[in-house]
Subunit: 287 residues, 2 copies
């Protein structure tokens, strides 16, 4: 598999980082995951805008590769070299504050950021979508800047692992006050009293690209939406529950912590929105 690291295209096995990389010692970096369909990046602009936001929010040095056209070119070349330019794939981009002797303060201004890009093959969850997914809840112990797509992902790792060990697809994260924020790598939507509900874009959730598209699609379909978080208690009262994400699309949830959600089958609103998303993707998301 080929990768791009700091100006070079390499076999991924040869793409090596300094042990002083601030991504490694501090988690001092951001990342982005793009969906690629037949060599085209879906919603590339929104992903790129979020990357730009992350660079600014953390005051990361802006690498030349952050230019939309440049990054697009790197992604397309890697998709081609990895044989991922037909069918589905993902493009992974990570930028850190570079390698410098370990000190919490920002490194000298001339420290080059680390830029790593690679692609992965992708296969969607079509089979699971037919039956619907199960989820569990986990305490949301993340930091309070979840709106920035950083590599501070250890709490997500631990919650996702707990889900996997429970045989569930995803863990829903619940703050101490009972607010359900989102999944470990997905946003959460509920249908409650015929209204679509999702956490507003505060610092407690990642502003998902698929979340934004789904809100647009809901608007187009005339589905009433309220951007207000549901509570842990309301989880048990939902007519529908579903996840959204770049690699998850729209995924209906039929069971949460072992309790059946709604009618226990994929919800009608979730499936309408999934179909609309697939149409927006040009049909391939159905795979």
């Amino acid at each position: 598999m080929r990768a791009y690291l700091n100006g070079q295209y390499l076999d991924k096995a040869d793409a090596k980082l300094s042990v002083d990389d601030r991504g490694f010692v501090f988690g001092d970096g951001i990342y982005e995951v793009y969906r690629a369909i037949d060599g085209e990046l879906f919603e590339a602009e929104r992903h790129h805008r979020r990357l730009e936001h992350g660079l600014e929010a953390l005051r990361l040095p802006r690498p030349t590769e952050a230019d939309a056209g440049t990054l697009h070119g790197i992604a397309l070349r890697l998709l081609r070299e990895n044989g991922h330019d037909t069918g589905e794939a993902t493009v992974y981009v990570q930028v850190t504050r570079g390698a410098a002797p370990r000190a919490h303060v920002f490194p000298p201004a001339d420290t080059a950021p680390t830029v790593f890009v690679t692609t992965y093959p992708f296969k969607g969850f079509a089979d699971l979508r037919r039956t619907g997914a199960t989820v569990i809840t986990q305490p949301d112990v993340r930091w309070l800047r979840c709106n920035i797509k950083t590599v501070q992902l250890l709490p997500n790792v631990l919650a996702k692992q707990a889900a996997a060990e429970a045989g569930a697809l995803e863990a829903l994260l619940v703050r101490a006050d009972g607010t359900v924020t989102e999944g470990t790598h997905t946003n959460l939507f509920a249908v409650l009293d015929d209204e679509l509900r999702t956490h507003p874009t505060t610092e407690l959730i990642l502003p998902g690209v698929t979340r934004a598209v789904v809100l647009e699609l809901a608007h187009e379909l005339g589905i009433p939406v309220r951007e207000e978080a549901i509570t842990e208690e309301e989880l048990g009262q939902c007519e529908e529950l579903f996840l959204t994400g770049t690699t998850t699309d729209v995924m209906p949830v039929v069971s949460c912590d072992g309790r059946i959600v709604g009618a226990g089958v994929p919800g009608a609103i979730a499936m309408r929105l999934h179909d609309a998303l697939v149409a927006r993707m040009g049909g391939v998301g159905a795979r």
Copy 2:
């Protein structure tokens, strides 16, 4: 400078990580910093116990290097090879969940953890200690498992950078409810109504080795101690304020957010405790 990486002793420039290292992509790892004085590790057992706790808390695979004797041997060899076996130095140890294709869930059980060890020269803050340090406050936006010494350090980086830009040594972190927890890489003590106060060892602070030693010393010196956090409001009422840490020793604070603390000079209790710590270190901490 020499380093140890996954079984090999190398020039640090040749110690290279996979771009798939989970330390880099998820911040999925822990670290430890030991103080070395003339080639001896100060309070090695306490540091080692904390490392063991981190491995268990995160269910990291236990590397053979986590054996206390083995780790000690690696540290001593690096101190020697780097000429850090006389005078003062620090030993840095990091363990991550290893390199594996990116997925939040734990990697296959046979994935070897990454073990990185190196040493740094160290010079204390004796000059600053004479006048006392200035600090600022910053919102404590960290995750809720601060008791584990992980590399989820981006909030610490940002707060420490804010302190540096304000000309301060350290940032004190304040939770939304007004509780002052600790510094970005130090614990915090206050003297209030002739009582020594510090945050209890909950999941909101790192259980500092120097914090534990200072509590022992306070006990020996007959200084009354209460392990109860101070509030942001109480910051302005303290008779003394001081930081403790492996590389900070006891550091009196004379100014916080531009307001003078106590009498505006290093406090008597802080200096008594610092002197006792220096004695415990065999006198070298005074440098």
